[in-house]
């Protein structure tokens, strides 16, 4: 109950500041310098490249060109659609992801392991496949759910996939795992004693959640909102497949067009990217400001606690039913649709007649496809390596940004977030440009893909690690130091283990999204470094949608194994359950 202290560090700080000041400070500067060089190199090189190409292409970044870029016909509507879509989809994913994570971690809801696994399924399904299977469920004309609703006389409940609400719902559900993982880690590191005392003092569950639970996880929650909104602003796939047929154009289609056309309009692309970057920075500054009283969220301190689940009491079953419905609608139905697609030679609406043409040919073909085997291996190496590198590196960056005494330390967080605003295609071109001219023999190897993935997923890594670290009080680290440990020892043996829930969650997220990464990969891979996302793209381009669905099903199965392993690992390290 004493975790929310106004100034818990004052004493510790003075104590540790005296004896080892000189060396401590030096170590911090050296680490900071190394981190800034690596970060700057990874993040600024593509940005500088983009701006430089922007300055030297077309009319450059003159004011008149900026004005021209924003005066394309229909711009105000497009900007409005973009914001509506981004905030709407972020709202769906933040609300559903947070609620799922809360019930998964903090309550005694039944079937929690199932809930955890199910929450991640939308993450692994290739985006285009996810969207198409939702069209088959939610389209006005052929959507299974809508047909069933109409037959039951509940037609008024229907949502058309090809509409703004449809886009928001479908994209939000696809992104929910990002938020779920982030919040899952945050809830695991919260001391339930605070909630218990509130409950004992007579507060209802609703007000406990509002006044105690959510404020304690504010760094993670704000981080989730920020990253979901920015990602929504730059996402293209869902708006293209669902929005364009409905006449709902979003702004990203402009960037997409600018990069696709010839000569490539780098000027236009960089103008849009810089805008996105400014928005990201503003959002991040707002988040940093809101989180500035860091001691408020530090629930992991010298005082031990075990995150015991909250007893839902009479609410246990009603809540479980709500989540069962969520599970059926959001996870099971699209997954069944995917399985159905994978068993069909071509898509037919599910019916008894269509069941006659069920075949396993799609599965046979993908297992016979030799190029898939190589791609799986490369993707596995890359995903594991880049996820590990990102979380470990951003753990250090987060520490510098939140716990070091360096002036201007907030800039670390900003720098690591820059790649959010750089389109994947631009990153690919920039890396080709750099490594074709660099003495390092990286072009055409897995290393160039590794650099691309690490760069692209830094912003995600930093959100996961920093929201996790924000909950760790400096007391523990300070005591380690006072007992004579070096910075590295206390970081490795105290800080990292305490951040483990966030690190594991971020790692799982990055492993999965690196397997899906296409826009840089397609430019950077070569014949012996093919990756899964390229294979997925190929199957789709070739119209082999049945095989792609089969591959999607296999990937879901593989994810389940990965999650089980990661969860087992995560359960042993970090804050232990009661």
């Amino acid at each position: 109950m004493t975790q929310v202290l106004e100034r818990p560090l004052a004493a510790g700080q003075q104590v540790h500041a005296r004896p080892r000041l000189g060396r401590q400070a030096l170590v911090q500067y050296v680490i900071a310098a190394v981190v800034v060089v690596i970060l700057g190199y990874l993040v600024l090189s593509p940005l500088v490249y983009l701006v430089w190409r922007g300055l030297t292409t077309g009319e450059g970044l003159s004011l008149s060109n900026i004005a021209a870029a924003y005066s394309v016909s229909g711009t105000p509507t497009m900007v409005m659609n973009s914001f509506l879509f981004a905030f709407g989809s972020a709202a769906v994913s933040v609300v559903s992801g947070t609620a799922l994570a809360f019930f998964c971690v903090r309550t005694n809801a039944p079937m929690k392991p199932l809930l955890y696994a199910a929450s991640l399924i939308p993450l692994i399904v290739p985006g285009i496949l996810f969207t198409i299977s939702w069209v088959f469920l939610l389209s006005d004309d052929i959507g299974l759910i809508n047909v069933v609703l109409r037959n039951m006389g509940l037609g008024f409940l229907h949502v058309d996939a090809f509409s703004m609400p449809g886009m928001i719902l479908i994209d939000g559900m696809h992104q929910a795992p990002l938020v779920f993982l982030l919040m899952f880690a945050a809830f695991r590191a919260t001391d339930p004693a605070l909630e218990e005392s509130a409950l004992m003092s007579g507060a209802g569950i609703g007000s406990v959640i509002r006044k105690v639970t959510l404020p304690l996880v504010r760094p993670a929650l704000l981080g989730a909102i920020l990253i979901s909104v920015v990602r929504g602003l730059e996402s293209f796939e869902t708006p293209a497949v669902l929005g364009i047929p409905a006449g709902k154009w979003v702004f990203t289609s402009q960037i997409f067009e600018a990069l696709r056309t010839y000569p490539v309009r780098y000027d236009v692309a960089s103008i849009y990217s810089i805008t996105l970057l400014l928005l990201t920075v503003l959002g991040l500054l707002a988040v940093q400001k809101a989180n500035s009283r860091s001691e408020r969220y530090q629930t992991i301190s010298g005082k031990g606690f075990r995150p015991r689940p909250m007893d839902l009491g009479a609410w246990r079953w009603p809540v479980s039913i709500v989540f069962a419905i969520y599970f059926v609608v959001v996870v099971l139905l699209p997954l069944l649709m995917l399985v159905w697609m994978s068993l069909m030679p071509f898509y037919q609406s599910p019916s008894a007649a269509a069941a006659g043409s069920i075949t396993f040919e799609n599965y046979e073909r993908i297992f016979r496809n030799a190029s898939i085997v190589g791609a799986v291996k490369n993707s596995a190496i890359l995903a594991l390596a880049s996820a590990t590198a990102v979380v470990l590196f951003t753990a250090v960056v987060s520490w510098l940004s939140l716990k070091s005494k360096i002036r201007g330390r907030k800039i670390f967080d900003l720098l690591a977030s820059v790649p959010l605003a750089i389109p994947g295609l631009v990153l690919g071109v920039a890396l080709i440009f750099i490594y074709l001219r660099s003495p390092l023999p990286i072009y055409g190897t897995l290393a160039i893909l590794f650099i691309a993935y690490v760069t692209r997923y830094l912003p995600y890594g930093i959100r996961y690690t920093s929201s996790s670290l924000a909950q760790v009080s400096a007391e523990l680290e300070d005591s380690a130091r006072m007992s004579g440990s070096t910075w590295w020892d206390s970081f490795r043996r105290v800080v990292l283990p305490l951040m483990m829930p966030g690190i594991i969650a971020g790692w799982v997220y990055i492993v999965v999204v690196s397997i899906r990464e296409l826009s840089s990969s397609i430019l950077l891979y070569s014949h012996n470094t093919r990756v899964m996302s390229v294979t997925i793209w190929e199957l789709w381009e070739n119209g082999q949608t049945g095989e792609l669905a089969a591959l999607g099903v296999v990937m879901v199965a593989a994810l389940m194994v990965l999650v089980a392993v990661a969860q087992r690992m995560g359960a042993r390290i970090g804050v232990q359950d009661a």
Partner: protein, 388 residues
């Protein structure tokens, strides 16, 4: 919480480290390029073809008999770069061709980079700007190929099989068409009986298609080809021809991507798509899907996919040998087996169930030259016309 002033970190730490980062990034100062070319240009400066081994080789073999040419190239190909041939292609499934080629020519290995045409174009331009020999043989959409050609990156095209190919395939100087993709209206036969099929391009704007028609939104080439055709053959002004498309767009939902569009037609979301590939329809109909495209009553645009030897190739003999194989009857037959239409005139006729589909003439190079204009025009068509 403010740190004591003596522990203040000098801001120059960031400044200097940031500068170091930029210097590192700047290590990209073109290594080994001697001409001080403006590296910011996406296109290489100077003529990469001048004095290139590929151009010399083309010149050397152009008068040889087919047999002499083949054995000379086969020997050279295997002896260069360990027999490796880098092949950048957008063929759906390049394996059958690659395997047949490797079986036929001992000591060669084909390394495939498969991507979409715009990605291949982007990569070749970047590699060429750095004078890096990436691709030996390039196979992609002729529109994108024409862009590479405008940048002088392709060696002159010669082949001993040129006579067997359709005229449209051999209309270029520095690349040769190897296969064709016909773009036609494709419909769901359960939802649209053949007697309701569109009878002309203008007919697609008819009220009977309202709410049932999909228009794929990336087909600039199809659009430009038909506008130029209407100007040339029907005496329309450009504005009138564009209006035809605006009327069609007003009748349709604009979709994104050919696969998505096909899926949605097969599933019954749309009854008909204005612009889709014949081969996709043939393939799906073969699996029993309810899709059709006959009778063809709308002018047909054929996207031509071409092959070209890169001037920067470091195994030009391998490139030419692979090109000749793709254009040979054996190679072309492999396209037929994948339901694709080869450039070989005789084989092409067999692929469309004996149907004689005569595509309209399209000036690829003219479209490539004005690509920006056509792309902007198409953009206004689908944005303003989109019925939603």
């Amino acid at each position: 919480m403010n740190p004591p002033s003596k522990r203040r970190t000098p801001l120059y730490l960031f400044a200097s480290a940031g500068a170091a980062a930029l210097v590192l990034a700047g290590c990209s100062a073109p290594a080994g390029t001697d001409d001080g070319a403006d590296p910011s240009a996406s296109a290489p400066s100077g003529d990469l073809c001048e004095g290139s081994a590929a151009v010399d080789l083309v010149d050397q073999v152009k008068d040889m008999s087919p047999e002499e040419r083949e054995s000379f190239l086969a020997e050279q190909a295997a002896a260069t770069k360990g027999g490796a041939i880098d092949f950048y292609t957008e063929i759906n499934d390049p394996d059958p061709i690659v395997e047949a080629f490797q079986d036929k020519y001992d000591g060669t290995t084909v390394n495939v980079y498969r991507a979409g045409s715009d990605q291949i174009r982007q990569r070749v331009l970047e590699e060429s700007a750095a004078h890096f020999s990436g691709a030996d043989l390039i196979e992609m959409d002729s529109l994108e190929m024409a862009i590479l050609d405008e940048e002088n990156l392709l060696a002159p095209a010669t082949s001993s099989h040129a006579d067997e190919l359709s005229d449209a395939a051999t209309a270029f100087d520095n690349f040769i068409g190897d296969r064709l993709s016909y773009i036609v209206p494709v419909w769901n036969t359960d939802l649209l009986p053949a007697d309701q099929a569109p009878t002309s391009l203008e007919d697609l704007a008819d009220a009977r298609f309202k709410g049932k028609l999909a228009l794929e939104g990336s087909d600039v080439y199809w659009f430009a080809g038909l506008v130029m055709y209407m100007e040339r053959e029907e005496g329309k002004t450009e504005e009138e021809a564009v209006q035809v498309f605006k009327d069609i767009a007003a009748n349709s939902a604009v979709t994104s991507g050919h696969t998505t569009t096909t899926e949605l037609v097969v599933a019954g979301q749309y009854a008909i798509a204005a612009n889709n590939y014949i081969h996709r329809a043939v393939e799906l109909a073969g699996k029993g899907a309810p899709v059709g495209y006959l009778p063809v009553q709308v002018p047909v645009v054929a996207e031509i996919t071409g092959v070209a030897t890169a001037c920067l190739s470091d195994n030009p003999a391998g490139a030419l040998l692979l090109q000749d194989f793709i254009l040979s009857e054996d190679g072309q037959q492999l396209f037929v087996e994948q339901d694709r239409t080869p450039a070989n005139a005789e084989l092409a006729a067999q692929t469309l169930n004996g149907q004689d589909v005569e595509p309209v003439e399209v000036d690829v190079e003219a479209i490539a030259h004005d690509y920006q204009k056509w792309s902007d025009l198409w953009d206004t068509v689908i944005r303003e016309g989109n019925a939603g």
